[in-house]
Symmetry: C2
Subunit: 233 residues, 2 copies
Amino acid sequence: MTKKIKIKKEIIETPRLMVDIVLFKVIDNTLKLLLIRRGVKPFKNMWALPGGHVDKNEALEKAAFRELEEETGVKNIYLEQLYTFGDPYRDPRGRAISVAYFALGESGQKFHLKSATDAAEVDWFSVKKLPRLAFDHKKIINYALKRLCWKLEYTNIARNLLPKLFTLSELQKTYEVVLGKKIDKRNFRKKIVALNLIKPIKKQKKNVAYRPPQLWTFVAGKNLILDKRELIF
Amino acid sequence: MTKKIKIKKEIIETPRLMVDIVLFKVIDNTLKLLLIRRGVKPFKNMWALPGGHVDKNEALEKAAFRELEEETGVKNIYLEQLYTFGDPYRDPRGRAISVAYFALGESGQKFHLKSATDAAEVDWFSVKKLPRLAFDHKKIINYALKRLCWKLEYTNIARNLLPKLFTLSELQKTYEVVLGKKIDKRNFRKKIVALNLIKPIKKQKKNVAYRPPQLWTFVAGKNLILDKRELIF
DNA sequence: GCAAAAGTGTTCACGGTACACCCATGA
DNA sequence: TCATGGGTGTACCGTGAACACTTTTGC
């Protein structure tokens, strides 16, 4: 070890700080998330969440965006902080805490997945068929899944899972896939429309071999919490 | 091997990791929180949240308990993680991120407040009359207040603000003080009792100059999320 | 005309809210 | 007997859930 390290150690012995990102996306009517295959030790060749170290003067969120793009090529997504995992033994290399981020990609959006030195492979996995995961990433994912389900029901976060224009059936399908349950079509439409979060646009979807559906778009340009739960964030 | 050392070197360039604690308690029918007057620079003599550095191999929650006790003498409280604040310029000494914790003390509980070298003074402040605060602590407190209001309505977290035995009026008062609004007595009782979270015990409160009230206690030994919101955590 | 998804209303149960009076005790 | 907080019930409204048929298009 160099002298520099020694000095730093004396000043403040602080844990390493990292970010990990759980990126969800609905693909083929399935809720999927993005994983990388680790190209380096520890857990080499095992699947893990994209993530890495926070730079000395880098905002946490920026580190999350950067690591995601470096390791997977993904950018332009919705991102919010999830929870900070700090178990002293969660990383075999030594103490490291991870600020986990929760991210959503638009259903239609094409990502140009690319791998990197430390991410030998990148791929989408159904949340129902996850491989064994490195570190405590399984725990982080479970937490993210709960957050996603909750936010879908009590916020307009679905906007980040859908393209600008969509049909009510597509919206409903998104809810069903994420929540893992069937929803009554009439009740769903009534409720969603009553919330005034989406509005119909003049166009209809064309060239479908059945009655052309109305296209809708989200009204507000930002993410909202519905009713009293505005208190949460 | 050389490579390994190189990685270590990079890792050392990590932000400092700290914890801050927002401890709430109801005193004299007012929602208060615990602050320290800083005994050291920066922000010397200014009021701030209790908190400090996380030790190299210390769990985050443990660091929060430790710092709180060291700086204020307070122990045996309810604690949960709130949010991680990581703005690069939040600390004038240089990059530091803070994992904020949210804590609750029992209304009757006596704390032996004591000051320390870095906490020259310790005191409770009404959330409505807070002094100017060091760092971004005002922001952290606002966030904690929202979390508290929300959790009070959708979880049984009130258990941590009250002593083992309490009257329904005391419970209602706690809700009113935290939420900052009057609640109808009959509706409150109906709702609370219907939730089956509390049960009456045989004893009544004695030596009061009016009809002696029934004493109640929380049923479950742990903290719960009510109804569908079990999804959140 | 048929396949395929779009679109549409009513009924019922339950939880939230508004609202006012009598009760038990100590002084 | 009075002052003080304790304790109780009913009526109304809005939201959530259950449930089935007609419509519009492309082929």
